[in-house]
């Protein structure tokens, strides 16, 4: 196996252009598992961890750009105010060792329906910045996933960064699993409220072939909040509205039975998570 370790972004793009079949490795928390289990045997690995620029983040106005090589540990430490939903989700990833190694770009690259970063990125309408030697493009995160462990990247493309709006309101994330650490979510749910735009964002993990939004739930909740002028008054939410939101969120999913859980349990749990995250987020909004 050939191991390439480019030290600059341009070099990485050139390598990928020349060897589009090469497997990309960042923190290695997914790729190394597959190699150990002999699930894939790539002829060439391209390691992106030596590209310093990739592991940085910056703010431009109200837009936060997170380099693909930023780890979960750094998201928790450095971005918990700017991207609280993503930070909460990052705290639930694996174990300290995994959070020190695993990156946001790697999570997207693996495109697992259970990827913990995906629901908060969907809820905040993030954009994936993609590049190749041919040029670069921006892909809305909901267009990024094309199937279980599949995405829109062309063979010569790499993930450069993710951009998300700086949080304008409360964000939440919750997941359920057999245990709390070192676990792949049975199902997960992210919620982002934007009081300025009067917008509601959602993201669902592990309950469909790809991470998805609960669009109908978003639309109904945003509509009801606007109709009752709730963004202004911040009154307690009507129980029926919360239940309706929870039901619509669960209905958005297309779960299956597998090793980790049953479809029925996933759908039930999803409704619970939607209800809980909305209650937490709204309480926070009422307090502030």
């Amino acid at each position: 196996m050939e191991f390439l370790a480019p030290t600059s972004w341009d070099e990485a793009l050139a390598v990928k252009a020349e060897h589009p079949e090469a497997e990309v490795i960042a923190g290695g928390t997914d790729v190394m598992v597959d190699l150990n289990f002999d699930r894939r045997r790539p002829a060439m690995l391209v390691d992106l961890t030596r590209i310093a620029d990739l592991a940085t983040w910056q703010i431009d106005g109200s837009v936060l750009t997170i380099g693909a090589g930023v780890t979960y540990a750094r998201i928790i430490d450095e971005l918990s105010t700017l991207a609280p939903g993503l930070a909460i989700a990052s705290r639930t990833v694996g174990s300290p060792q995994i959070r020190n190694r695993g990156t946001i770009g790697g999570n997207l690259g693996s495109a697992s329906p259970a990827g913990d970063a995906h629901p908060p990125l969907l809820a905040t309408k993030a954009t994936v910045e993609v590049a190749s030697a041919r040029g670069s493009r921006s892909v809305p995160v909901e267009k990024f996933f094309t199937g279980a462990k599949r995405h829109v990247l062309a063979p010569d493309e790499l993930i450069a960064a993710v951009t998300v709006p700086v949080a304008a309101g409360p964000q939440q994330f919750a997941k359920v699993g057999t245990r709390n650490a070192m676990v792949i979510a049975v199902t997960s749910f992210a919620l982002a409220l934007d009081p300025h735009a009067h917008a509601v964002g959602t993201g669902i993990g592990s309950a469909a072939p790809t991470p998805i939004r609960a669009e109908e739930a978003e639309r109904v909740l945003a509509g009801e909040l606007a109709a009752a002028d709730q963004w202004e008054h911040r009154r307690p939410l009507d129980d029926h509205l919360v239940d309706h939101f929870a039901r619509l969120s669960a209905e958005a999913a297309a779960p299956i039975d597998d090793v980790r859980g049953t479809a029925a349990y996933r759908r039930h749990a999803l409704a619970v998570l939607a209800r809980r995250t909305l209650s937490w987020a709204w309480s926070e909004y009422q307090r502030n």
């Binding site: 289990f37 709390n180 650490a181 349990y265």
Partner: protein
Amino acid sequence: MTAVDTPVVPWTGVVGRPLPRVEAAAKVTGAIAYADDLQLPGMLFCKLLRSPHPHARVVSVDTTAARAMRGVVAVLTGHDLPTKYGIMPTCEDEQALEHEKVRFVGDPVAAVAAVDEETALAACRAIQVEYQPLAAVESIEDALAPPDGEPLHDYAGPGNVHRLAALEFGDVEAGFARADHVREDVFFFEGNTHLPMEQHSATAQASDGQVTLWSSTQNPHYVHRALAKVLGLPMGSVRVVAAPLGGGFGGKCDPFSHEIAVCKLALVTGRPVKCTLTREEVFYTHRGRHPTLMWVRTGVDREGHILAMHFRSVLDGGAYGSYGPASMLYTGALQPTTYRIPAYRFEGARVFTSKAPCGPKRGHGTPQPRFALEVHLDKIAEELGIDPVTLRRRNYVEPFTRTVNWLRVTSCGLQQITDRVLDASGYARRRRRLGHGMGFAVSSYMCGAGLSIYWNTLPHSQCVVTAGRGGVTVFCGATDIGQGSDSMLATVAAEELGLQPGAIRLVTGDTGLTPVDLGSYSSRVTFMAGNAAREAAAKLRQLLVEAVAEAEGRSPEQVQVRDARIGSLGFEEAVALAEERFGTLATHGSYTPPAGIGGRYKGAGVGPSPAYSYSAAVVELDADPVTGEIDVHKVWLAHDIGRAINELAVRGQVEGGVCMGLGEALMEAQAYRHGLVKQPSMLDYKSLTFLEMPDVETILVETVDPEGPYGAKEVGQGPLLPVIPAVVSAVHDALGVWVDEVPVTPDKVLRALEARARGRDARYGPKSFPVVPYPPLVKVAPPDAAAPTL
């Protein structure tokens, strides 16, 4: 000398003190050599080719291409090792490599020795095996149905039934007739596996027709026997050395294919051969907890006194016999060691299925019925409106009695452990609120099986102690599997000789150098090897004392043994003096369980033990009424240890048992899909991590057993047992629903809540117990209650 006037007092400088384990430094620095650390010059590496089918005829095995590969030195098939073996003489149904048929995914069919693992693996892939698939047997229900085609084995039966038992002690029907209240319940305990940190590894070396095996085994003596048989060698030509183990828990108790294969390959090639299993292979090797379906019916009077009990079990044994007949009988044996059951009927069955073989795991055959029995008693208490602790106390066995199935009970701290665990946990004063619960349960376990696995008249443990210019050495077949066996031996010898454990050299678990100890299973080592070591060391002490007394012109009673001194002499001087007086200093000791500790009926071999430990647990948890998630906050565990020889080691075993019990209670499952193990990796097989492990408060109760060494009893297995039913009981306390199936996953909790919401029985669990072809009852008269029991 003023020593003459000093009264002689027993040396208690060692026993009972919380000393670090003798091998602790070597383990934490990484200096200890586990089986896979062994490297021999010119060593070859072995890989096994395993069946991809759950059940198939092996039509042909073509090894031509594999043999022709560069780097491949030898290839074996079942034709090279045709002799069948098995841990129990009544079911020798295994072959190291199967050449006629395979019975589970992972059943070995060929073995390759090559210059490295990669080449061995490539050669395995090059072996052409033609299989003719047969109908798989995937469940207890499948196994009880008439076989679709041929059964897995051509012995036992009917069909895929492996073993049956039906015993009755006392008049059960009369008991039920007198009862004010009779209750029936059905329970299921899913199978799970040991999950030792260390994978199995074995290395063999052969010369001049003699073979030595270093292996990660709990039972070198039983492996020794199996190797001699399968290799066709006299036992004197085979030597088995048990390497330090990175965890056993029962998973390294059988003789295994890889152990036999490396020995044969070493004999064939003349070079050392190593085989280390991958983690995935450890899941196939298994011998774990039997999935067990249980039905229990109990009759009680108004106060909750048990009048009669009828317990049925059926165990999913997987593909081979292993310890199965014993595992099955254990599901019925120990219920009467905690509760007085005046009339008791047990019907048990074990079936074959085309899955990895089940065998002994920590608690061997007793965690399943303990879970069923304790939850069943909780339900009876609820129905009678009696506090579940009070109901249990009314039925506790008394010390120094005999059970209805003839088991001799000696020291028994049930009442004390109950008092202590309730006091510490505040169980009786707990505040009731939705989603928060506490559960209580008790259990007992054996301090070593009263009988060997195969019939023989050997002592169960033997020890030799030598002393000379090279210091004191203890030779014993006992094997340290991480439970602290070596520390125990060193402590016992040190106590008798007035030394510290670090001064004792140990030679253990080596069939070429040490007298036989039956192995590290059934919680027997402290009780049996401890007594053997104590006898041997006490004899040596006697020689030293006599020599010193003679030299000093005193009576032996006046010679103190303590602080590395024998009377007025330093220990080394005393040894030199005694050697001069008596010649080479070598003493021996042995232990055989007393006669008459069990009954005389068929099946009576399972259950008797020279003593029983007792454990009581309280579990406190939150159970989420909407997601069904369970968060265990704390476990209190009171254990009747008899006497703690090393308190630190005892507490370690308790905490380990609680951790394993919680894993089984909450998440662990060795489950299959179309014959394939669903979770064959540490990531996919869920067990507790640091994050889920709650605080454990350990309470040791010392009842000082009359026959245990210094009064000691077991701790390796017992403390796991009450944790599982206590979790189920706490979930019921929190949510008002019963989960009658282990593991208690969020999914099952929710389904029980849903059942209640729909007005059905507020439980999740098996609906019915199948029809099992139990044989006619063997009626055994219970011991005469009026006669003296001991």
